[in-house]
Symmetry: D2
Subunit: 339 residues, 4 copies
C-alpha cells in the first residue's frame, strides 16, 4: 500500500502516518518527491487496517499495490486449470472447445429431449436448461423447479450429455447438486456471497457468470470466495455487461477473455446469447469469442424459439445452431483448437 500525502502535509502528519503503519505491523519507507511525499507500507500485517490511514490529516489517497485475489491468480498458479466434468467425460479449459447448448428454461419432456438430441448431434457436449429462472418480473414464468431438474436428468440419461443448471437459493443447493454436473451462478448472484460460500463446499464444478456491472477484479474475488471455501473448480462465464448502449441487451465484453487469460488460470466461457440479446448476433459473436481465446461457449437453442417461455428472442433454432457449429469449428481450427 502506498500512502500519498497532500501537498504541504506537515512533518507531524507524516510522523503520524509512520507511527500508525508501525502499529499495524508494517514497515514504512518514506519517499519525498518534488510535489508530495509518499509512504510505502511493506510487510505482512493485515492490509485492511491500513484503510484507516485515509482519515489521517494530511493524507490525500491510498494506492493499493497487490491484487486482492490469490487462489484465482495466475501469479500463484501458472498452469491453466482443466476442469473435469462428470467424471472427466468432458474437460473444460483443455484444447478442445466446449459447447454448452439447450433451452433457456426446461419446459416439457418433449422439449428438453428433442433439444438435447439435436444439440448432441450437432456437437455440443453439455446440455443447459433452467429449472429456477431469475426473472425481472414476479409475473413471468419462474421455472419448473424440481420437476425441471428431473427432466434434465432424464435428458442426461437418454443422451449421455453432461448437464448444467442454475441454482438461485442456498436452500436448493442440495437438490440441484443431486441432478446436475455443473451448477451455475447467474449474473444477478455473482456477489451473493452467502451462496458462494456454500457452493464452495460442493463437489461439482461451479459456473460463475459475470454480473451486469461486476469488474473483472470483483468477479475474480467472487471466484476466490468459492475456491477459498474448498471448491477449486470454478468456470468463468462472460455474458455481457450493462452499458449505455441500447441496440443490444448487454455489451459482450470480449476484452475480458484475454484479460482473464492473463490474470487467472481458470477456464473462460462466453455466452453470446445474453451478451447480445438477439439471435441474429449470436453466431458472429460466438465466432469472435473463440477467436479471442475463449475455452467454449454457452448458447440457447429451442425447437421453436417463437414459442419459448423465456428468452425466445435470443434462442437459436436447430438449423441455425448447426450453422453456428460449422462456423465456430472453422474458427477453432484457425486458432489451433479442436471442437
Amino acid at each position: 500500500m502506498i500512502v500519498v500525502m497532500k501537498k504541504g502535509a506537515t512533518p507531524e502528519q507524516v510522523e503520524k502516518v509512520k507511527s500508525k503503519v508501525k502499529e499495524f505491523g508494517f514497515d514504512h519507507h518514506v519517499i519525498v518527491g518534488e510535489e508530495r511525499t509518499v509512504v510505502a507500507c511493506v510487510g505482512t500485517g493485515n492490509r485492511k487496517d491500513l484503510e484507516g490511514l485515509r482519515l489521517i490529516d494530511g493524507v490525500l489517497d491510498l494506492v493499493p499495490i497487490s491484487k486482492p485475489f490469490k487462489l484465482a491468480s495466475r501469479e500463484v498458479k501458472k498452469q491453466t486449470t482443466v476442469i473435469p466434468v462428470r467424471n472427466g467425460q468432458v474437460e473444460i479449459g483443455a484444447n478442445k472447445i466446449v459447447v454448452m447448448a439447450g433451452p433457456c428454461s426446461v419446459e416439457s419432456e418433449e422439449q428438453i429431449l428433442t433439444t438435447a438430441k439435436a444439440v448432441k448431434q450437432a456437437g455440443a457436449t453439455i446440455l443447459r436448461g433452467g429449472a429456477w429462472k431469475p426473472r425481472t418480473s414476479p409475473y413471468s414464468f419462474q421455472g419448473l423447479e424440481e420437476d425441471g431438474l428431473k427432466l434434465l436428468d432424464l435428458a442426461r440419461k437418454e443422451t449421455g450429455l453432461a448437464v448444467i443448471t442454475e441454482v438461485m437459493n442456498p436452500r436448493d443447493i442440495d437438490v440441484v447438486e443431486r441432478y446436475t454436473d455443473i451448477m451455475q451462478v447467474g449474473a444477478r448472484n455473482v456477489q451473493n456471497f452467502s451462496m458462494l460460500k456454500e457452493l464452495g463446499q460442493c463437489k461439482i464444478p461451479i459456473f460463475l457468470k459475470r454480473g451486469l456491472s461486476t469488474t473483472i477484479q470483483e468477479w475474480l474475488m467472487s471466484a476466490e470466495y468459492i475456491i477459498s471455501s474448498g471448491n477449486p473448480n470454478v468456470i468463468l462465464c462472460e455474458r455481457g455487461i450493462r452499458t449505455f448502449e441500447t441496440a443490444t441487451r448487454n455489451t459482450l465484453d470480449l476484452n475480458a477473455v484475454p484479460v482473464l487469460k492473463e490474470q487467472t488460470h481458470l477456464p473462460v466461457i462466453v455466452d453470446p446469447a445474453h451478451g447480445t440479446g438477439f439471435w441474429q448476433y449470436v453466431t458472429p459473436m460466438a465466432c469472435a469469442a473463440i477467436a479471442a481465446g475463449a475455452d467454449g461457449i454457452m448458447v440457447e437453442v429451442h425447437p421453436k424459439p417463437s414459442e419459448a417461455w423465456s428468452d425466445g428472442g435470443q434462442s437459436l433454432k436447430f438449423d441455425t445452431f448447426n450453422e453456428l457449429m460449422r462456423q465456430i469449428r472453422s474458427i477453432a481450427h484457425a486458432v489451433g483448437r479442436e471442437i
Copy 2:
C-alpha cells in the same frame, strides 16, 4: 404492445402477425404509415406470449406500452405510503424526515452502545448496523452474525431506537426478523428473487437498496416481488449506481428521487455514504437528497472511523454527524418538512 414491421414487409407477413396476435387472445389494430406498418395489440391476454412475435419474418421490433409494475405504481395507488416501524414509533414516508445512522458493522458492545446514544442524541430515530456484511473479498471481516444481532437488540433496548440490519441469506431471515425492526436487502441482492419472495412473507418492513446497475424500473419490479408475495411495506433506498466516474465510489443518482416520487407511492431514502464513498462528501449530498424530496437518509457513524472494521472512509464522527443534522434540519425546513 406495438409490433413494428420492417419497411417492405409483405401483406402475408402482416397477416401472420395478426393471426398470431388473435391466437394469443389479443385484438389487433393495423396502422399503415408512410414508412412502415405497425400492429397494435390490445386486450387481456398474456403479454409474455407476444414476445415471440419478434421472431416472425418482417417484424422489426416490439414496443411495450404498459409499465410492468402494478402494485408499486402510483397509477394504481395515488397516495404516498407511510410505513410504520416498531409499532408506529417511527413513520417512514410521512412529513417528518427519517434519519438512520450507525456503524457499517456492529463490532462490539461498547461501539454499538456509544454510537446508538450519540446518534439518538443528535436526532436519529433508527439505528443501523451490519451483522452479516457483503464484502468483495472473502478475506475481509464478514460480520459478527447472530452475536451482532444481539448487540443491536441490546442497543435498541437501551436507547429505544428502532433498528435496521441487513439479511444476506434466506436461511437467516427468521433469526434476523427476531432481532430487528426493518430488514435491509443490500445492493448486491436487489435481484436475488428467491430471497425477495421469502421476504414478502415477513411481517416487518423491507428496506430495498438499489443495485449498482439496476434501472429504476427493474428496482420497482424487485419491490413488486416483495409486495406481490404479501408484504406491502417496502422502503426504497438510492445508494449510488456504478458509472465510469472513479473520483467517487459510486454515482449517487438523485434524479431517482423525483422519478420515484412520480412513479411509485413507496417512500424513498437516500444513502449518501455509499453514494459517494468519502466522508467529506456525505453532508453536502445528504442536504441535496432532502432538497430533492427524499423522505430520509441513511448514514454511517462510528466513534472512531479510522479504526472501523469496514467502510471507515465513508463514516462520520459524532461531531461531523451533529453538523450534518444541523444542516439537513435547515434544508428540511426550507422544503416544508420536519426532522
Copy 3:
C-alpha cells in the same frame, strides 16, 4: 510514479527499470515487499517518458501519484475564483447564487425578448439562448446562427441582462465573442482541444460543460487547456453524464459538486434541465444542486414549451420558473447564501 514489478521479477529486470528511470532524469527508490518489488520515481523529469516503463519485461503496472492538472487545482490556488461577467455586473463563484435562464434556441425577437423580461423579473441575472445548436440529427433545426446572436444582443440591451451562448466551431469564435458576455462550450466539445486552445485566447469567461462520459479529472484537464492558453476565467457546468439508466435523459452527477469544490478553485454551475431531460424534475434537482454547494444553475425557460423548436420537454414555463426561483431562494438561505 510508482512502477510495480510482477511477482518473481528478476533482479536484472529491476535493474533495467532503475537504469531507465535514471536515463529519464528521475531518481529511483526501490522497495522490496513481501509479494512484489516497487520502484518509486522522484524528480522533475518529463513524466510522459516514464510511460514506456510499462513495456519493460517484469513490469506489471504503473501507478501515477501526482494529479495531472495544475492551474485548475485547489492545491495550487486555495481561494475560490470569483469570475466577473460583463464588467463585474454579475459575479460567478461569490456568495450570491447565479441563475442563468432562457430558451434552448433563440427562435424570434418576440420569443427572446419576452423570455428575457420574464426571467429577469423572476430573478435571473444571465440570459441563455442558443444560436448554433448541436443536434444529433442533421435534419433537426440547427439554430439561427448570427441572426440569433443579434437577437441575444438586442435582449441584452433591452433588459440589461448578461448573455451566454454556445460556440461550436473555432471559425465562429470571433463573431460569437462580439455579441456575448460568456461563451459556452457544449458537452460534445469538452474535448475539442483545438477549440479549447483558441478559447484560451479570448477575453471573456468560458462556460465549460462536462461531457457525457468525461471524468472529473478529464474535465479539469480541459479547463487546464483553456487556462494554460491564457484565459483564467473558466466556469464548470455539471449537466449529467451518460449511464445505463433510461428513465432520465442523463444522470445528473451532483457528487461532482463537492468533489470539484475540493479539487478546484473554479466556480461550479449545475444544469438540471439537461441533467434530467424532463421539466417536472428540474425544480427538485435545482434545489438539490444548491443544497450540494453549487454556485448557480442554468435552466431552460420558454414562453410555450410545447411549441419550442428544441428541448421543449425539459423547458419551464414562466410560472414554473417563478416557482423554481421561490424554492431555490429558500434553499439558498438555508445554506447561508444569497440569490
Copy 4:
C-alpha cells in the same frame, strides 16, 4: 410516433392530442386498450413538431417508431458500400480485409519511413499516423502538425501505401486533405457537427470513429451528417466505449459489428489498440473483430514502443505485428475472406 396516454386520461385530453396531431399535418388513430389509450400519428408532417405533445396534460410518453437515419440505413440501400481509396488502389468494404497500421504519432522521417516499410512488408495496405493529436493534457505532445503531414506524404511516395490521418479543427481540413487519402474523425469529435458538415464537402473518404459514449444510433446520425452534406464515403470505426471496467482502457464493443452490418451499408473497421489499451490484448481482439465480421482493422505499430511519444503501451513492435498478420490471415480464411 405513438402517443401514450396516462391511465385515467380524460376524453378531453385525448381530444386535445388529436387536434394537435391534425394541426401538425398528421393523421391520428386512437386505440383504446385495457389499461390506457394510445394515439398513433401517421403521415408526412414534421416529426419534430410532435415532440411538444409530451407536454399536453394526460400524456405519459411518446414512442418513436421510425429510425432517424436514412442515407446511412440498409433499409434504404441494401448493398454494402465499397469505398475506393486513392483511386481504387485499396477498397474498403469488399471481400478483402483491410489492415491500417502505423504509429500513433508521426515523430520523425526515420520513424515513419521504417514503420511504413515494415507494415507494408507484413501486408498492411494503409499507413496511419497522427499529425494533430487529441491529448487529454495540454502538457502532452500535441503532434508535428503540417510537418507531420509532409512526412506522411513522403512515406506514401516511398512505399505506395495509402495514408490516413486525423483532422481536429475545421480550419485544418484543406491542408490535411492535400496530404492524405482518408481523413479520420477522432472519437472526441464524433459529434463535432460543425466539422462533420464541412467534411461532407470533401472529396476523400471520411473515417468516423465511434465516440466514448456514443450509441450506435447516434453514431449513424453523425455519418448521416457527412453523407447528407455531400460525401457518401464514410467508414465506421469501432474503437471501444467507456464503461465501468478499468482493467482495460475502453470496452471494445464487438457487438457493434453485427449490429452495424444489419443496420447500415457502410463498411466497418475495428481498432483493438484503443479498444483495449494494452498491446498484449491487441492480437486476440483483432482476431475476434475479423471473426465477428469486420471489414478490417486499424492498429498501432512503432519501431520501439517503449520510446513512443504517445500510446506506446498499446503499440505493437514489428515482430508482434507480423504475428498479428499471421493470425488474422488464418481467421480471415476461416470466414471466407482474403487479406
